[in-house]
């Protein structure tokens, strides 16, 4: 027991010393271990190690782009905005799904950084994966506001849909989703069940379900209330821990489940009932 405690203290001391050393002597270069594969061209999967110079502010995407520009132009990588807005540069960095543009080299441990394509997505080439299935799941959730009263053909009918800050708070965090696919890649259910919509699609279903401007809640719950739907979530929570935008898809899934089980107060239904009673009263 005492030996274990001493060993633990020694490990912590070593870790602290290493962190202090890394702070005082920032890395001047790192080795990128890049997953390379092009199955269409008959190329087998392997890792290429490329050393790249880094600064305190260098992101993994910067390092990869340096490697592509000066060392090996054939590295396959997808990126766009470089500021965590577009969600294009998702990849596994040291085994964890992250955005390459949002991960600084200095925040990673060790002098070797392993970059791999996202798991749970069909692989195309090197670090590029196919998002078709992921977007199809998103599309299945009808991710847009549906409201019969909002008839855009009749201009006289056009009016504002008032929302209180409380109404907005119910779905705001879920609307920050950039569809980067990190949650989908981290989800253990998606890994085994390809029909499972995944945390992104399910949290978007909740985002529109709880929006008081939307009236298609019933149709949307029918879509998720399926054999491979919302009930297959094991609540591992890995989706929420990898989200770069602070969205909590696991929370959205649990809240939507609560509504399906009838545990949560359905305010939209109450409002509709009140409206109907009022109409009937008149």
């Amino acid at each position: 027991m005492t030996e274990q405690v001493i060993e633990k203290i020694e490990t912590m001391d070593k870790k602290r010393a290493r962190e202090k050393h890394e702070k005082e002597h920032p890395k001047s270069s790192v080795t990128l271990k890049i997953y390379r594969a092009n199955r269409l061209a008959g190329e087998r999967a392997h890792y290429d190690s490329i050393e790249v110079p880094v600064q305190r502010w260098t992101t993994v995407l910067d390092a990869l782009l340096y490697a592509k520009e000066y060392k090996d132009a054939s590295i396959g990588i997808r990126y766009s905005c470089r500021m965590a807005s577009c969600g294009s540069c998702g990849m596994k960095i040291n085994g964890i799904p992250r955005l390459a543009c949002y991960t600084k080299v200095s925040e990673l441990e060790g002098s070797t950084i392993t970059v791999e394509p996202l798991a749970n997505f069909p692989h195309i080439r090197d670090l590029v994966t196919d998002f078709s299935q992921f977007f199809a799941h998103h599309r299945d959730m009808q991710p847009y506001i549906q409201n019969e009263q909002a008839d855009i053909k009749d201009m006289n009918k056009l009016s504002e849909f008032m929302q209180s800050p409380e109404d907005l708070d119910k779905f705001l965090q879920f609307s920050y989703c950039i569809k980067c696919g990190l949650c989908y890649s981290a989800c253990p259910t998606v890994a085994t069940d390809t029909k499972f919509p995944g945390p992104q699609a399910l949290s978007q279903a909740y985002r529109y379900f709880i929006d008081n401007r939307d009236t298609a809640g019933k149709e949307r719950t029918k879509i998720v209330d399926d054999r491979h739907g919302i009930w297959r979530c094991h609540f591992a929570g890995s989706c929420s821990s990898v989200c770069p935008k602070g969205v909590d898809p696991a929370l959205g899934i649990q809240l939507l489940r609560g509504h399906l089980l009838g545990f949560s107060k359905n305010e939209k239904k109450n409002a509709e009932l009140k409206e109907r009673l009022k109409r009937e009263g008149d």
């Binding site: 085994t192 069940d193 054999r227 919302i230 297959r232 089980l261």
Partner: protein, 118 residues
Amino acid sequence: MTMLRESQIMKIHYITGIAALFVVAVHIIMRLIMPYDMSLEYENVIANYHNIPYVILLESILVLIAIHGFNGLRVILLELRQSKAWEDGVTILTIAAMMGVIAYGTRTIIVVNGMGFE
């Protein structure tokens, strides 16, 4: 092939799970009304089967655990493969197995109790 919506099935799953916890707890507590070894002796076990409230408790355990357990198995198996034939096959098989277990367990309870066989 869907008679019930998944949310209804899962509602049954959660309710049977919670109810099973309760009835199994009562079943275990009943072992403690006398020394544990003695409660498992042949005569005492048979006596339990002749006690109607206890028979109802045993039947409840059987039904609740069978429903909860076989639905759990169905959920696990559904994740293994994704095809209509597999999903329908798994659903039919688990329902049949569940009904078989309940029927066989109920038969055991009836036979040991001696209802209708005296």
